[in-house]
């Protein structure tokens, strides 16, 4: 198929960016979206131009590197799918496709479609862990049974890939879904409960310090999250947070 692409090009963090038009032909419906970008980049290199920079690594929907805003949607039109798992069969011959970076004040653009998501790391530094040393003599893994229901819910929360689509989608650039998922994972497990309250307090404080916006319950994040992280995680975070600030 033949496509008209409109792609965000920005030379560096301080430079001004703009949308640039590219025409591309011979795209197969079996290609992934990033393979289509590869084809475009090879073409650009062939004509002596700089290829479009974008983050990607696993191309399996698990590392959370890829981050394109496609036709106004984070990771494009297919639900529950990262950019790297999107296939060209979701588009038609002659389509115009807008490709932009995830946008948020807390995620500055580095170059073209590459953004800086280190704010997510700093939120994790502030409490995204259980304080246990590697000694080789923690208790036996089966010493504390965990109800399957809780284990499964913790797992569901833990599947967040840290991509930032939730932030990019939210009109307030809120990171609540991401932070809620991490806080929930630990709050649902006995091992995480000792520090649960402080964790919620500290991570929320860091989230605010990074400049993420507030949650006004539009639920857009849940819709665009490629891993189906549920809004109930935000509710659980709020409970943990309130529990924390009341007793502090």
């Amino acid at each position: 198929m033949k496509l008209n692409l409109k792609v965000w090009r920005q030379q560096g963090p301080q430079e001004k960016g703009r949308m640039v038009d590219y025409q591309i032909d011979g795209i197969s419906e079996h290609m992934s979206f990033l393979e289509m970008m590869d084809v475009l980049n090879q073409k650009l290199i062939g004509s002596g131009e700089e290829p479009i920079a974008f983050d990607h690594d696993c191309r399996e929907g698990i590392c959370g590197s890829c981050s394109m805003f496609i036709n106004g949607e984070a990771h494009g039109p297919v639900k529950g799918t990262t950019t790297c798992q999107l296939h060209m069969r979701s588009f038609k011959d002659g389509d115009t496709i807008y490709i932009e970076p995830f946008r948020a004040n807390a995620f500055p653009v580095i170059k073209d479609l590459v953004i800086d998501r280190s704010a997510f790391d700093r939120i994790q530094h502030s409490g995204g862990y259980i304080s246990v040393n590697t000694s080789g003599n923690t208790q036996d893994a089966n010493a504390t049974p965990i109800a399957k229901e809780h284990a499964d819910l913790a797992m569901d929360a833990a599947t967040c890939i840290g991509c930032g689509a939730c932030v990019a989608t939210c009109k307030n650039s809120s990171a609540m879904l991401f932070v809620g998922a991490k806080i929930s994972q630990y709050a649902l497990l006995p091992q995480g409960q000792v520090e649960a309250k402080d964790r919620a307090q500290n991570m929320v404080a860091q989230m605010d310090a990074e400049g993420f916006g507030n949650c006004t319950n539009t639920g857009a994040c849940e819709v665009e999250c490629p891993k189906g992280i549920s809004l109930t995680n935000i509710a659980r975070m709020n409970r943990e947070f309130l529990g924390g600030s009341l007793t502090k």
Binding site: Q11, G12, H30, M31, S32, L34, E35, D38, Q42, L44, I45, G46, E49, E50, P51, A53, D55, H56, D57, C58, R59, E60, I62, C63, G64, S65, G80, T81, Q85, H87, R89, I110, K111, R117, S118, D121, Q124, H125, S126, Y129, I130, V132, T134, G136, N137, T138, A141, N142, P145, I146, K148, A151, D152, A154, M155, A158, T159, G162, Q185, Q191
Partner: protein, 671 residues
């Protein structure tokens, strides 16, 4: 040629690690504060090592090329992690895990390392649960297990189909705690481009800041490489796009021997390639072989009809199907080890029984499992006269609970529904057993330079069993290196800070700058990907699942020519002082173009078939094992460790003789 000492401690195999730990030199906590350690890589191996060393009190500097440690390639591991917990009471033990791993590796690994790995395996599960890793549990709240290939027990722990993700997030969380304490300084989007050796010891690295292009010097008392495997030398593999050999290769050029480069694992169950634009291949976890049955049509006409689109797999009658693994290996059936399963698939496809347009695919079929689970559920639910449709519905629910995310992934990529029709699969490059040579301490032949995880060669011999890489990465990082590195650093407590002003740093930095300059100013005619694809083709066709003397000799020649052409004609747009992904790729491909040559040389030198290394000249010619790999223990029970001399294929061979005192060397039989 000379011999190498693996520095395995004396004593019975069961006691080696315990007595080593009892006697090893320690560094006192106050002195640890004055010692810096560089850890390159934040996958399971590097991440767990960085966190543990920092907990112990060392000052750690950690590096990864992604924008966050959490995105290391380990994140993609699906199926699970082994541990000899024997929670299922099915006869598992440390000895059995040790035995299975040595046998699975086709008797080409170092016994003492493997035993240690089996010993610490149980601690890993305890540690991860304490960190909040949400492993799968049964209704009683206890940990669940599944089976993987090549073994007869159920010892694999898992977190849905995302085990690597959960384990890596566990290690990442342990790192976060140390980053918050200031004990780990994290360098994201940094790539190590050289190692600095001063007075014969590893004392630092040269790294490029991938955002600004700045070249940086970092010093330390020891350097740990947890930089992963080099499967991408084949261009197409299941590895992440950025996985590379650069760190290991630079160490090799500075004196670290490279061991068994030709031992590559080709994984039997991957989604087949669909076209020339293909950028990577996707694994379908081995856990699927617990329930999926592998087959091709028994008649060539049927295979042809399928390829022509005139017949559907579901229309082929039971008696016209060839469940070739069950037929050839009745004892292990669909759960034979990976190398055996991959070769069997290639054999059927080469004979003309392949089932997709390219003729390179076989079926992985869940229909029987769906019926089996469905009947079981109907019985449990008391629905004794459930219809066939109801049974299927119940069965699909179970299959969905077990493999749902893998089925979804398949559906997304192949646009086909595996609940209704069999999956199509084909082998793909997946893992590299070879790597930097290390002794029992995990130290390379450069004193003070360590290699852990997939980057080293030590534990999997010529073939790795499923769910053992995650185990090894975490064993090395959490439980082995933190002991062994102390032994070395205990003599470094009076050294003080290492300066980066020395000639050695100067020289290393100059080398790095010159190479980058050469790449960006070359202004040739071909893209980096053009060379990478060409290299991949040579590797797959001549160094892949079946190798011959003639093919390997040609490969060496062709790779040399391709490398020369690369340096003449490669085009790397953009500059050196900015984010430049083509430049990053160019550096990696340049190193693959050297490694590939050594790889072929190693395969040429090993005149036997073992594990993932299959030489067509060395097969059983008759008897029950006809057509199976023919190992030569008399002449080849050694590790081939190569010393760099300037031309990759003219590397000097050092042999580490492998001794098997606790396991009898046998032909591996899964019949």
């Amino acid at each position: 040629m000379s011999t190498l000492d693996g520095k395995t401690p004396a004593g019975p195999i069961k006691d080696k690690w315990t007595s080593y730990k009892d006697k090893v030199n320690l560094v006192n906590p106050a002195n640890k504060r004055n010692i810096d350690v560089i850890v390159v890589g934040t996958g399971l191996a590097g991440g767990s090592a960085a966190a543990t060393l920092a907990e112990q009190g060392y000052n750690v500097k950690a590096f990864c090329y992604q924008d966050s440690p959490r995105r290391a390639h380990s994140i993609a591991a699906q199926g699970g992690i082994n541990a000899a917990k024997n929670y299922q009471g099915d006869g598992d033990s440390i000895y059995r895990l040790f035995y299975d791993t040595v046998k699975g590796g086709d008797y080409r690994s170092r016994e003492a390392n493997v035993h240690r790995l089996a010993e610490v395996s149980t601690n890993i599960i305890d540690q991860c649960v304490a960190q909040g890793v949400p492993f799968a549990r049964d209704y009683g709240g206890l940990l669940d297990n599944r089976s993987f290939g090549g073994v007869l027990v159920s010892r694999t722990f898992y977190a849905k189909g995302q085990t690597g993700q959960q384990l890596l997030l566990g290690a990442y969380s342990a790192m976060n705690r140390q980053i918050a304490r200031g004990k780990i300084q994290m360098f994201n989007r940094h790539e190590m481009l050289d190692i600095v050796v001063i007075d014969g010891k590893a004392r630092g690295i040269i790294a490029r800041n991938l955002v600004t292009g700045e070249i940086e010097r970092h010093s330390a008392h020891a350097v740990v490489l947890g930089t992963g495997g080099y499967g991408n030398v084949f261009y197409l593999s299941t590895n992440a796009m950025g996985s590379n050999v650069t760190a290991g290769w630079k160490a090799h050029k500075r004196g670290a021997y490279f061991a068994n480069p030709c031992y590559t694992q080709i994984h039997p169950t991957c989604i087949p390639r669909s076209g020339d634009y293909q950028s990577k291949l996707t694994l379908m976890s081995e856990s699927l072989r617990n329930d999926g049955r592998i087959w091709v049509p028994a008649k060539k006409e049927d295979a042809q009809a399928i390829r022509d689109g005139q017949l559907k797999p579901t229309e082929i009658k039971e008696e016209d199907r060839d469940y070739y693994l069950e037929r050839r290996y009745p004892a292990f059936g669909n759960l034979v080890p990976r190398d055996v399963a991959s070769r069997a698939a290639k054999e059927r496809c080469d004979e003309g029984y392949g089932v997709n347009a390219t003729g390179e695919a076989v079926y992985l079929d869940f229909a029987a499992a769906i019926i089996r689970y469905g009947k079981e559920q109907a019985t449990i639910k008391g629905e004794n006269d459930a219809s066939e449709a109801r049974i299927k519905e119940l069965g699909k629910e179970i299959v969905k609970a077990k493999y749902g995310n893998l089925f979804d992934m398949y559906k997304q990529i192949a646009a086909d529904n595996p609940y209704e029709t069999p999956m199509m699969i084909y082998p793909a490059v997946h893992y590299t057993m070879g790597g930097i040579w290390v002794d029992y301490n995990l130290m390379t032949t450069i004193p003070g330079c360590y290699a852990i995880g997939e980057a080293n060669f030590s534990d999997h011999g010529a073939n790795r069993l499923g769910a053992s890489a995650l185990m090894q990465g975490l064993a090395d990082g959490y439980f082995v290196l933190p002991y062994t590195i102390g032994d070395y650093l205990s003599s470094d407590i009076r050294t003080g800070k290492i300066s980066t002003d020395s000639n050695e740093f100067e020289e290393a930095e100059k080398n790095v700058r010159e190479r980058i300059e050469k790449l960006v100013s070359n202004k040739g005619t071909q893209s980096v990907d053009y060379y990478h694809r060409k290299l991949g083709n040579i590797m797959w066709n001549k160094c892949g699942m079946a190798r011959t003397e003639k093919g390997l000799k040609e490969a060496i020649q062709e790779i040399t020519e391709l490398r020369n052409d690369f340096w003449k004609n490669v085009s790397v747009p953009g500059g050196a002082n900015e984010l430049n992904q083509e430049l990053e790729k160019a550096g990696r491909v340049a190193d693959f173009l050297e490694l590939g040559e050594l790889f072929a040389k190693d395969a040429l030198d090993r005149n036997e078939s073992c594990g993932g290394h299959f030489r067509e000249e060395y097969v059983e010619k008759s008897g029950e094992q006809q057509g199976e790999a023919l190992r030569d223990d008399k002449n080849f029970a050694y590790v081939a460790a190569w010393e760099y001399t300037g031309v990759p294929s003219e590397a000097k061979l050092h042999k580490e003789q492998l001794e098997f005192n606790d396991i009898e060397l046998k032909q591996r039989s899964y019949k």
